[in-house]
Symmetry: C2
Subunit: 246 residues, 2 copies
């Protein structure tokens, strides 16, 4: 594994101070990747994934959701999430600030930026795609697919990959159908991967300890969704052969 | 690229003589892969894919559909396909014979066998999974998802990967929904990849010359579906660590 560098820092959304975590490769990065955590905020898994992506040559930044520091429990997370989501435009802006911070720190051109998210973070990266943000690719892992502001035709610039457990009770088949129809209408270049029998939270083995939430790690879905993400990265961020395109 | 060996041969389904094509790696194969062509029968693309898989360490056999030799046109192919499909059990048996030939020639254990298919060939490999055939993995590329004999609960032994163009007129959203529900009912371990805006026949660049069929090559869907297949092969056929499992 090549050497990587890790930084912790603060950034801002208006008056809200947010905590950032960035892992960078020692060489010039292939692309910058924003990592948006689940409703519970950044966890060990998110930092692990950032360092893993840095080891593969990407500058990866884990962003903050609420600026509230460590949370008491899932109820506090839900309360903060509800407040943040209550204004759809403000919600989107929170993560535009994170993207700006990533761009500034990684010193990469706009079109070499991706964003990935888990659960609520999946919702976030899809919201960014819907808003027409200049991101080459967004990837949602067991993300929520509904939106108060469906994509208008022709607005989405990002490639999209959605990795979804078919048995996820937070994203029932009806929500998936509406999402696919929204993407059709928008004319988006969207790939959706559906895993039969797989529940919410399939990327996180610590979910198996939960007795209250309908979440469960699935080794195959985790492995295949990671492989799909890297294969899309290879396609979207590959170095062009002609000098004027790089 | 490592050296490969290619053979052409005949095999039989009852009185019907069928033409086989096999590409094998010089070293002991990772697994045996049956390749089932589109309704038009084996084409250059099928043989190319067999040699490509052999170069990656797999024994790959392209099977025959009708035993009729080179076909006049798509109308003759449709007529032969209709006749073959008219008896669902006989249809399944046609490809059981091909699997037996692959197993015999590749000298691999049953559980190191996969089957991949394109268009009608995708339908074929799904029929084999539905019949409970002992195949580790089946992969369908723009395959037809309807069946006269839906899978019974618990019968499917194979992992399944379905790569589907959302705009494929032969597989409308209603057929996809029914398929996902069939897989739920059967309790199958099934991954479905849906590509927005992608038509039928997205793996074959020669389809772009067709003015009569709603088919179109899609470079990204072709690339990502191939990568997904190889990633599933890596998972399903990986050499086990404990000697008794290999």
């Amino acid at each position: 594994m090549s050497s990587i560098e890790v930084q912790q820092f603060t950034y801002h959304h208006g008056d809200v101070e947010l905590a950032g975590y960035m892992a960078q490769p020692s060489r010039y990065p292939r692309a910058g990747i924003l990592i948006v955590p689940t409703i519970a905020g950044p966890t060990k898994l998110m930092y692990d994934r950032a360092r893993w992506l840095a080891s593969l040559g990407y500058s990866a930044m884990v962003c903050d959701l609420y600026g509230a520091g460590p949370l008491q429990d899932i109820r506090e997370a839900r309360r903060l999430a509800d407040a943040l989501r209550s204004d759809a435009e403000y919600y989107r802006e929170r993560f535009r600030c994170a993207l700006e911070e990533l761009r500034r720190r990684s010193r990469l051109a706009n079109n070499r930026i991706g964003a990935i998210g888990y659960c609520m973070g999946g919702e976030v990266v899809l919201e960014m795609a819907r808003s027409g943000e200049d991101i080459a690719l967004v990837v949602s892992f067991h993300g929520l697919l509904a939106t108060p502001l469906p994509a208008k035709r022709g607005v989405i610039k990002s490639r999209i990959l959605v990795c979804h457990g078919r048995a996820d009770p937070f994203v029932p088949p009806k929500q998936m159908r509406a999402f696919l129809e929204e993407m059709d209408f928008a004319g988006a270049d969207c790939h959706v991967h559906i895993y039969s029998g797989v529940l919410h939270g399939f990327t996180d083995i610590s979910n198996n300890a939960s007795s209250v939430e309908p979440v469960r790690y699935n080794a195959s879905a985790d492995r295949q969704s990671k492989a799909a993400m890297l294969s899309m990265f290879d396609e979207v961020f590959e170095v062009k052969k002609t000098p004027d395109q790089y």
